[in-house]
């Protein structure tokens, strides 16, 4: 597979994951605003910005609707949902012949819908956010059922799960002061709704309840979102899926010297598979979560060195 194609598929997938994550975060927090809450509007939206990695040029200015508009529609901001969808579609256009017609169709329709002039006035924002999430879910379904699960598909998986891992780590970090400082307490007053909001930001509320019932405590929430083996939005699941895809790519491409990449992924995988929640709580949680983000960036760089941006001299010698 051409290196450029791998690059485009990887980014197409990352951008869509980012758009979906942003849409869900906004949707959850907009709906939480409808209830009385222990969290002030400022606390809430500063936390959202933190969870999104402090997007450049977007600041809390006292108006939640202006803020959500900037994060959803504003194409001046490269991290807005519409910008991410445009970038994903642009990447897919570069590899139009590599993806299935059905995939292209779905992504192109989503693009045409969100860039339609006047969309902001036409539909209400929660409807818009829901549409974006649904369409991206459909895209993933179409991808799984119409594209060969070969190297290209694996790069899509890598893009999706590396983005998810980094975003989940950042989301958990944003909740540090609210939750992880006192991991065993029970929610007071309206805090329950906020905690539920965190789980819903990772589509995890129902899945959490199946394991721990509806009793929420910070340590269990952290355990679930960090260490659960089976839940697709947990960090452990994301890292395992990414690692699996990287191994498949390595087999498929027959690439030598994949050892550094294997090691990086393996280290994260081991940390998340063999730590108990008590081990994690005994450490500095913010440091653990930041370290995961640093590792994800290192994995990204190594993928580039190995598959995309390698030096010609080394390739000819090998």
């Amino acid at each position: 597979m051409l290196s450029r194609v791998a690059d485009s598929l990887y980014w197409m997938s990352r951008y869509l994951e980012r758009a979906e994550h942003t849409a869900r975060l906004l949707e959850v927090n907009l709906s939480l605003m409808l209830d009385e809450s222990s969290t002030s509007s400022e606390q809430r939206w500063v936390r959202v910005l933190h969870a999104l990695g402090h997007p450049q040029g977007i600041e809390w200015n006292g108006d939640p609707y202006k803020l959500t508009n900037a994060l959803a529609y504003d194409i001046q901001h490269k991290t807005s949902i519409v910008s991410c969808i445009m970038a994903a579609r642009e990447n897919s256009r570069h590899v139009r012949e590599q993806i299935s017609t059905e995939q292209w169709h779905q992504l192109n329709s989503l693009y045409l819908h969100v860039t339609k002039p006047g969309i902001q006035a036409e539909v209400d924002s929660s409807e818009f956010l829901q549409f974006v999430m649904d369409s991206i879910h459909q895209f993933q379904g179409i991808t799984d059922s119409t594209m060969s699960h070969g190297e290209g598909w694996q790069f899509i998986q890598v893009g999706r799960f590396i983005e998810r891992a980094a975003a989940t780590a950042m989301l958990l970090e944003a909740y540090h002061d609210d939750l992880w400082v006192h991991p065993e307490r029970i929610p007071e007053g309206n805090e329950y709704l906020e905690w539920m909001g965190l789980l819903r930001s990772a589509t995890a509320f129902e899945a959490y309840c199946k394991v721990y019932t509806a009793d929420l405590t910070p340590d269990r929430i952290l355990e679930f979102l960090l260490l659960d083996e089976q839940f697709p939005h947990s960090l452990r699941f994301a890292i395992d899926s990414m690692q699996g895809a990287l191994e498949a790519i390595q087999r498929e491409s027959g690439k030598q010297r994949a050892e550094p990449l294997h090691r990086l992924g393996g280290r994260l995988h081991a940390m998340l598979s063999f730590s108990s929640i008590d081990d994690i709580l005994n450490q500095d949680i913010v440091a653990v979560l930041r370290n995961i983000q640093v590792q994800c960036r290192a994995i990204h760089d190594t993928i580039y060195e190995l598959y995309v941006d390698y030096s010609i001299q080394i390739a000819l010698a090998g």
Binding site: R4, A6, H94, H105, L316, G318
Partner: protein
């Protein structure tokens, strides 16, 4: 209103040949079934099907890029629902003529880049060849695989008032539009399955497979399983949809200049599993931009060293470098002589009468009749750099007169031909629009003309410009098997 009545009543014929009507209310026989079928549809059904077709083009991203505009740079290629029908007898002449033409032009290219017999014999003046911007000195004496310079061509034909097909232009560099021919047919079969079945239309879907076979036949010796790629300038090129479409249909890689590297005169592509050798390149990048070392040094679309790899025989290109000299608009005037010279045959398809500005008496005739003639810049395509005399202003004519005097080699003139018209669905009515025809010819193990082609439509009333960049559209083209 019923379709047939609508067709009969408001459809004005003029002196141009009409593809459907012989006289007001009278049809060419091969259009009878079509009119019957359309008449049997409920009145709003046509509009409904048209919308379905448009939406299908947009959602599939079957678009082209219009240069020089900021917003809305992606447009769908407008599509007309009524097919253009060509009878078996008409087609057999077109086919024969195109095969003859590509054969002669290939021999011509081989000759001028090698012995130069046709120049020595004075059939084509040396200065016409050597002054052509597309003449490539680098190609002199170079051995081209199987002596095939033009493997892929798309020739523009028009119909004169008497119904005869003539050649308007040869496109021997990187002709485009074949993907529209193929997707038009797919849409047409989906929205009018019964009508399609009732005609015996010759299939065209084999084109991509024939193209692949043609490319494979050009592979360098000793490469039994050649790696074939399509080289595109990238996603901002107006024909990018087509590049992606053809690559996917052939199952070959779509590459851009930055995907290829040349080392020791061997071309490689950069893949996730390392560098992989490339044997045949179907290039959709012009000569000028393809290798910054051999041609334009400011090009970033190309591959440095590609020409040397080609010269070393390690990679084949379709089409070869330097084929543009044979579709130069001034050289066009000599093509009938070229056919007679190499094949000792009379040209089956005629040319449009052409005045060369380098000949003094033809230039004077042109300057005196600028309001009646069409003037074309020899190196331009896509409908740019043209003066259409009857539709021009006095200032435009003065401007062209100045340009012709300053650089006569750069211009030719032709009579304004009212090429044939075909009925198109314009809003709710049938209206005549001028059309041309671009059939596609492949030259590999043998010469093949795919039965059909792209019928381009000048969608503006009365306009003679069919190019997609200038508001043209297209129709499906049905060649009947009997």
């Amino acid at each position: 209103m019923q379709f047939a009545q609508m067709a009969m009543k408001n459809y004005l014929l003029d002196h141009a040949y009409d593809e459907m009507f012989t006289a007001p209310g009278e049809l060419h026989r091969h259009y009878e079934l079509l009119l019957d079928h359309f008449s049997s549809l409920p009145s709003d059904e046509l509009q409904r099907r048209k919308q379905a077709a448009d939406l299908s083009f947009l959602n599939q991203g079957i678009t082209f890029t219009v240069y020089g505009r900021q917003e809305g740079t992606e447009k769908i290629f407008p599509y007309d629902l009524l097919p253009r029908i060509i009878t078996a007898a008409e087609w057999s002449k077109v086919e024969h003529g195109l095969m003859q033409r590509i054969t002669a032009l290939n021999l011509f290219l081989k000759d001028i880049y090698n012995e130069g017999l046709i120049l020595r014999d004075g059939i084509v003046p040396r200065e016409v060849v050597f002054s052509c911007k597309q003449y490539r000195r680098q190609m002199v004496g170079l051995q081209v695989p199987r002596n095939i310079y033009i493997a892929i061509c798309g020739t523009d034909l028009i119909r004169l008032e008497n119904g005869e097909f003539v050649v308007l232009e040869d496109n021997l560099r990187v002709p485009s539009g074949v993907s529209y021919m193929l997707t038009n047919r797919r849409v047409m079969k989906r929205i009018f399955p019964q009508l399609f079945r009732s005609y015996n239309v010759r299939p065209i879907e084999q084109y991509t497979q024939l193209l692949l076979g043609t490319l494979r036949s050009l592979a360098p010796e000793g490469r039994p399983e050649p790696n074939i790629v399509l080289l595109s300038p990238g996603v901002f090129n107006s024909a990018y949809f087509e590049h992606a479409y053809l690559a996917r249909q052939m199952g070959i890689e779509l590459v851009e200049g930055r995907d290829l590297v040349v080392h020791d005169n061997i071309v490689y592509m950069r893949t996730t599993s390392g560098l992989r050798r490339v044997d045949v390149i179907y290039r959709r990048v012009d000569d000028d931009f393809i290798d910054p070392l051999a041609f334009r040094p400011d090009s970033i679309l190309g591959v440095a060293g590609l020409f040397n790899a080609y010269r070393a025989g390690n990679v084949s290109l379709a089409n070869a470098f330097g084929t543009g000299v044979a579709d130069d608009k001034a050289l066009y005037a000599y093509v009938p002589e070229i056919i007679r010279y190499y094949l000792s045959e009379e040209p089956v398809l005629k040319n449009v009468e052409t005045f060369l500005m380098t000949r003094r008496n033809e230039r004077q005739h042109t300057l005196a009749n600028l309001d009646k003639l069409v003037v074309k810049t020899v190196g331009e395509s896509g409908g740019y750099g043209m003066l259409i005399g009857p539709h021009s202003t006095a200032e435009q004519r003065d401007e062209f007169a100045r340009r012709i005097e300053a650089d006569p080699r750069n211009y030719i003139a032709q009579p304004t031909i009212s090429f044939s018209r075909a009925p198109c669905l314009v809003e709710d009515a049938l209206e005549p629009r001028h059309v041309d025809l671009r059939p596609y010819v492949l030259y590999g193990d043998r010469v093949t003309v795919v039965p059909g082609g792209l019928t381009r439509v000048a969608l503006t009333r009365g306009s003679l410009v069919v190019n997609s960049s200038q508001g043209g559209g297209s129709k499906d083209t049905w060649v009947l098997s009997q």
